[in-house]
Subunit: 262 residues, 2 copies
């Protein structure tokens, strides 16, 4: 599993909880993040390096692209060239979203880059389910999460302002289309109200991982818990500190990413 | 001069530029920041410790409270007990704001805490100038500045969203009521348009410092440039790196804050 930084840790958390027997290697590319402001070509190159490193250096049996920007930048290349299955964070959330709504009015929130890319509009169209989609970019959400500040006045007021168009659209299901956002679920839920179901890309991706591994006969058949390794291309001490705060006690140390090729 | 963290560096920058002969000691209380989420009682105690340390440990002839939260938490105590003049960041900006407007429609932006405190509403009322004030909290602005991310899509979209009520109010002058915001002046200016004058608390505070020192005969009469010391209660390496990016080359090293009492 890889991400540009810390956001994908929500996917890691959900995966550890759902599939405790699986071994997990998480690379956070904090040495080069944030990806949002980088050219797509660079993001594609970083993704290939990270994915190949997971296969060759860490012997991964499947790759999870736990990063919306990398997913939006194009998965086709990775799927074509990698010898293992590739699971993304967009498709699972979108599938859950269109099946959760009963009114047909749904919302998606994400970073400016993700919303502008149109990746969610396309993914929803591909489901063939006719829904009315309202999107909103939520700049600032990622920044608060990465300060470890997930509740409080500042975040709540920001959420009220940014979610106003989604509330006006009277959606009954809202997809958290950025892997950072589940850390803000309480605040987002308070602002949206109890009648709106929040769909987490992270949880849905974990389900998709289980389904895919099961279909391919790749689930680990072992009673003992899997190992969890956290790897960073940036400052490993910073990664460990904030990472542990966000993910939990499993992230008790961080290794430095040393790719063998690339 | 003291602040909870990095924001006051805009005041330091403006002061160095306007008063190059003055010696400046800046304490950033990054070991205990952000103040915004702390009880007022704690903020008052921190302010007293920092102000007294500047007087006793650094021999300050005047204190600048370069922090809106600390200013809003109450300056009267500091003014009553300190043996040197105390300059705040709210009054100078407000005075400039009410004299800049020609339509009488003005705006103030700040953190949620500052806007909620009502400090600007009161300060504007105290000027006796009849203006129509529109305020807006801008959660997220500080967080982007402290990542060193002051331009780009994410910040621009956030500014468009948060400044919408100020734009609707058709103000002709907007006070940046948070010491971090001058770092975002370009983005804020682009969003507000050329017809709106931005008033910087930082610049106005530097003018107020000059006026006050001059009135009291305390300006340093020396051709040689003053010294600039930057002191932090938190990680001094982090402070130096981000600080230099924000303030400029004068911030080439950071000392650790070691108060002699408190």
């Amino acid at each position: 599993m890889f991400d540009s930084g810390f956001g994908g840790l929500t996917v890691a958390r959900a995966t550890i909880d759902l599939l405790p027997a699986e071994h997990l290697v998480y690379i956070g590319d904090t040495g080069r993040y944030p990806y949002g402001s980088k050219p797509l070509r660079d993001v594609r190159r970083f993704s290939r390096e990270l994915a190949w490193s997971l296969v060759e250096d860490y012997d991964a049996k499947a790759i999870v692209v736990a990063c919306n920007t990398a997913t939006a930048a194009g998965l086709d290349d990775l799927r074509n060239e990698l010898p293992v299955p590739v699971i993304d964070v967009v498709t699972p959330g979108v599938k859950a979203l269109v099946h959760t709504t009963s009114t047909g009015r749904v919302g998606v929130i994400g970073t400016v880059g993700t919303i502008k890319s149109g990746a969610y509009v396309r993914a929803i169209a591909e489901t063939g389910v006719p829904v009315k989609l309202t999107s909103a970019a939520c700049p600032g959400f990622v920044e608060f999460v990465e300060r470890g500040q997930t509740t409080g006045d500042e975040v709540t007021v920001l959420a009220e302002r940014l979610l106003a168009p989604i509330r006006s659209a009277r959606v009954d299901a809202l997809l958290l289309g950025c892997t950072h956002y589940p850390f803000l679920a309480r605040t987002i839920g308070d602002v949206m109200g109890v009648d709106v179901t929040l769909v987490s890309s992270a949880d849905e991706t974990a389900f998709a991982i289980r389904t895919r591994l099961s279909e391919l006969g790749l689930l680990r058949a072992d009673e003992r818990p899997g190992t969890h390794r956290f790897v960073s291309s940036g400052d490993i001490e910073v990664f460990r500190e904030l990472g542990a705060q966000l993910l939990g006690p499993e992230l008790d140390r961080t290794e430095r990413w040393v790719p063998t090729r690339g």
